[in-house]
């Protein structure tokens, strides 16, 4: 009886706080992405040749963990198959946040572009639910000083 009540409480807390955090994060992401769109992150391996650039490796990584509610729903999806929607939004947030952190670093270096952007993910075991690392990295193109 107490166990069931405790389970429901955890589920409710997971849902409430998880949802609140997700909404706020998405709102922040949109604002920051708009600001950072002046510094394009490009997947292409061929940087512009219009001028000389100093190149610098930049990266941003994020480790995300699921909440109680998401883990529970994902477990249920495992039975029937289909989109694991609770994790999709989580991974979307992690990926966008990683890009922003990478851009932050590039911005600090006065870069004008980040080229050859790549992503990597790694599963990290944290307790039973686990966490996921998303790493975005690329080459920051910093216009060389003295070059006109």
């Amino acid at each position: 009886m107490y166990e069931a009540a405790f389970f429901l409480l955890l589920l409710l807390l997971g849902y409430g706080f998880g949802r609140l955090a997700e909404r706020r994060h998405f709102a922040r992401l949109v604002v920051r992405e708009r600001e950072m769109n002046t510094l394009p992150a490009i997947a292409s391996r061929y940087p512009p040749t219009d001028r000389a650039y100093a190149q610098h490796l930049v990266g941003g990584n994020v480790v995300v963990s699921s909440d109680y509610f998401k883990s529970f729903v994902a477990g249920l999806v495992n039975i029937f198959g289909g989109r694991v929607a609770p994790y999709e939004s989580l991974i979307d947030r992690a990926r966008r946040e990683a890009v922003l952190r990478m851009k932050d670093e590039a911005h600090g270096l006065q870069a004008t572009y980040v080229f050859n952007v790549k992503f990597e993910t790694t599963r990290i075991a944290v307790g039973r639910t686990g966490a996921m690392e998303v790493l975005a990295y690329g080459t920051a193109m910093i216009p060389s000083t003295g070059d006109s």
Binding site: P40, K70, S71, F72, A85, S89, D92
Partner: protein
Amino acid sequence: MDYENRQAPEGINTDAEHPLRLFLRLAFAAVALLLIIVLVLQFSGGWLAKRIPFRTEQAIIEKMGIDFGDEADSAEILDYLNSLAQRLLTNMPRRESLDVVVHYSSDETFNAFATIGGNLLFYRGLLERIPHENALAMVLAHEIAHVLHRDPVAGLGGGVASTVAIAVLSGNAGSGVAGKVIGRAGVLGGMEFTRRMEREADRAGLAAVAAVYGHVAGAEALFQLVADQRGESKVPAWLARFTSTHPLDADRIRSIARHAEESGWSDEGVVTPLPAGFDEWLESGS
């Protein structure tokens, strides 16, 4: 060449369905699936187990060499319980091969149960609280009915089959919370099966008591006793009804009263007292 990052529209990588809606949809489907699987396996596993000859059941128990209770020092109580059991048994519809043996344990446990091979075990903790023979006959007849219905072996067969299925399904849901909850829910589903067995054993037991004593007065004393023993429950009745292996005491008392009325058995009559040395007999085993 111009390079730019355009702001991508929201919602490409996420699902529009509200998470609570998704949760409810999946939870409902999982519970339904689980109930169907458990019920089907309980019934089919139980049905198959009942095909095992009773003699095999007895042989298995014999081979396992389980000691039921304290046989050596409790001759009088065992004689009395077994003769009462035989009186009831002759008044119950049964296949010839089915038989019961009553065992006695001087343990304080408030319980009595039937297990495979027609073995019944009665604990002192229950017997010393029994007010009269009619109440005792009701417990005995109830447990004998379990043996006659082959419930112990069916419970074992159905239980094993559904436990395996629950383990597979909950394993599929991951080792996390969902798996655990699924496992728990499956066990609850199986309980409806045992509650059904209990209700049928109550009815058959009551019929035997009516046949032996000519009335069913005092039969409900057993459930009253169980209810008193259990004490005030903190769990609300609607929940207990679903989460318990046995029907609720109050429901059972109502149900046997209704069954007695429908069958035309009188609930008024003189109850037979327990034999004079009953209390000393109980002591002898300890």
